[in-house]
Assembly symmetry: C2
Homo-oligomer: 398 residues x 2
């Protein structure tokens, strides 16, 4: 049998889905598993979006233009204006989910062998896209004890080599929930200008900031308009992860033209979902407010529960719906597997994502997990009670 | 402004969409343009599929498993059984359109710098995917005067080097309409076995064969099960190009596991469309029969018209809904542009795809165009009458 490619073997297994076989076996054994391991929200998709499908009058599900339907791109400019981001429709390229926007951004800004700096812990699939694009991820470590804010700009500058082409941030951050301050963005602005880099900002959690935090877009930065590329998606905003509609936003027309060629190769993003996402832009503002409020409540449930466990390290995140917490265990992956294999309470258990897969630096995150606030308050409460009990009973407890 | 990547500049412009600005200007000038340049069928999507959306009862448009919904994969095995192809659901990985199946197939079988042999003229986006995957396309020329059948197997063998990893065929063929004989497939079987290669077969036009032609799948070949990778899509079968649902089929589990990792990075193919495509498998057989009959009639219209033009070279294709024809003109691209810019009859004109972009060998296809049979019989008749008139009036006529 012929050999597969080297990159096939280099693709990282998804740490979020890595423990899925254990969860499957737990379910086969009749156990209920609370899934806090994956960012699949349970918030209903807005009616504006669902109604588009229900009232479908198209006769043919045809290709859209490769860069997306122009009427949808026009409508998206209205959406961005709500965040004081002035765009024209030519600044937007519709993609098949935020995922495709990331791979397009990497492919058009970097050659194989080039380097991209990413603050860690980071959204684990950046690794997979980097393998596909043949680029090297250079991590800059952010620490729980610093609330996961960026290290000093000089620490980041030290990582820049002649192969560095871009810095990639996720803001609000998955998996830490950190929301970048304006000062941090300004520092990044200086850095990319000084070193002739691109700044790629994954802002798919833009709507989800809590308490006194304010979201600032990389598109607000002045003077580096040609360097900024924003990755966006309707997945979390409208709880429509399976719609696969995202976009790439940049005022750098040459970059978008290049990305369009990648888009032309794959022909078209999903057509009906673009029209549904277009309808979703008219969703009443109360929908987002309620979703935000709901995520905030869930976060509070998680933090109230974690505070009761001695040895847990973690801060209340200000954004997104994830958090990375340090647990008083020997090894977080072992603990997560143990919860699925050997632990249950009234036939129920919890699935978390071990955090080491979110770090590029070997050895980091070994005692950390990512918790996603994707279940309703009652389910979150039950899941956290299960976690508390599991932490008491786990043989590898520190 | 920072430089884009080399691959961004290497991405070929789509020859199918290349003349779009000329068409746009013709339309702005009030002209009606018959689009025979793109494979966007006008056949209605079956009600089975549309009704899935109309009756939508899901509350959340959630991710599907990265390899696709298991119930859809199971249902697909039923579809393949109709072609005497026995598969289990684990042999199928659902992709975002056939496009993604092609890039996944290239990425998992080839390293950057490896070579893939493709009979030319070929579906032009193979070039774009090859640039993305960093692999080199090595063409084997098929000729109109041979009906676009494969050249002798020894001619193909000559192209094999130590970097060759795969042979890619499209069967029935876009853009030639050629349907591979069992003997040709057997020869390819021998070749891939002799030289330790993969055989990637793009079979998205499987349903569309005419007259006495019989479709044979690469999945029918015995003894090379681990080497065969089939690319499939619902786009043409159900006239649902904008649904973006395809699949990768292989009995090589290791290969599908590797492709699944690429799938995990991008999370999920569109969920609703998978469910709609699953419903589409129960579309009455008469739907496909009528579509096939309709395409056959259109093909006959095209060939009747072309036979009346002296100097036209082309055979009636037996499959798909395209044909490559040689025209008695100095330069096919110039002729296509001239039709959009300078020609009209009662304010109507035609858009064709110049064929040179379908060849990898420079200089080939310069007097050829691809015609897609994607308009109804009456529109095809009118379009062909316009083409006949344009050929009489074109100043560069040979």
């Amino acid at each position: 049998m012929p050999q597969l490619s080297q990159r096939a073997y280099s693709m990282p297994a998804s740490p979020i889905r890595k423990l899925a076989p254990y969860a499957d076996r737990a379910k086969e054994a009749g156990r209920k598993v609370y899934h806090l391991n994956i960012g699949q929200p349970d918030i209903p998709t807005p009616q504006t979006m669902l109604n588009y499908f229900r009232n479908l009058s198209l006769k043919v599900i045809a290709y859209s233009p490769s860069g997306g339907l122009w009427e949808y791109r026009e409508k998206l400019t209205e959406y961005y204006r709500r965040f004081d981001i002035a765009l024209s429709k030519e600044d937007i390229l519709v993609t098949t989910g935020g995922s495709e926007a990331i791979i397009f951004a990497m492919m058009v800004t970097m050659n194989p062998g080039d380097e991209i700096i990413i603050p860690e812990p980071f959204y684990t699939n950046y690794n997979g896209f980097a393998v596909e694009a043949g680029v090297r991820v250079v991590p800059v470590t952010c620490r729980a004890e610093d609330g996961f804010r960026l290290p000093s700009i000089e620490k980041i500058r030290e990582k820049i080599t002649e192969r560095t082409r871009a810095i990639l941030i996720c803001n609000p951050n998955n998996p830490t929930g950190y929301v970048y301050s304006w000062e941090e963005l300004e520092q990044l602005r200086q850095l990319v200008a000084d070193h002739d880099l691109f700044l790629i900002a994954d802002e798919v959690y833009r709507e989800f900031v809590y308490d006194d935090a304010t979201f600032h877009s990389a598109l607000h930065l002045k003077g580096i308009e040609e360097r900024v590329v924003v990755v966006d998606s309707v997945s979390k905003r409208y709880s429509a992860c399976g719609a696969r509609v995202g976009c790439l936003v940049s005022r750098n027309r040459e970059l978008l033209e290049a990305a369009l060629k990648l888009g032309q190769a794959r022909l078209s993003p999903p057509t009906l979902e673009q029209l549904a996402a277009m309808a979703a832009i008219d969703t009443p503002e109360s929908y987002i407010q309620q979703a935000r409020e709901e995520y905030r409540r869930r976060r509070d449930v998680v933090f109230q529960a974690l505070q009761q466990v001695p040895g847990v390290v973690g801060l209340k995140p200000k954004g997104a719906f994830y958090t990375i917490v340090g647990l008083p265990v020997d090894d977080a992956e072992k603990f997560c597997i143990w919860m699925l294999e050997s632990f249950h309470d009234q036939n129920e258990t919890v699935m978390l994502a071990p955090a080491s897969g979110f770090y590029a630096t070997p050895g980091l995150g070994k005692r950390e997990v990512r918790i996603a606030f994707v279940l309703n308050v009652q389910a979150m409460q039950r899941a956290m009670a299960l976690l508390q009990k599991a932490l008491r009973e786990y043989p590898g407890r520190l």
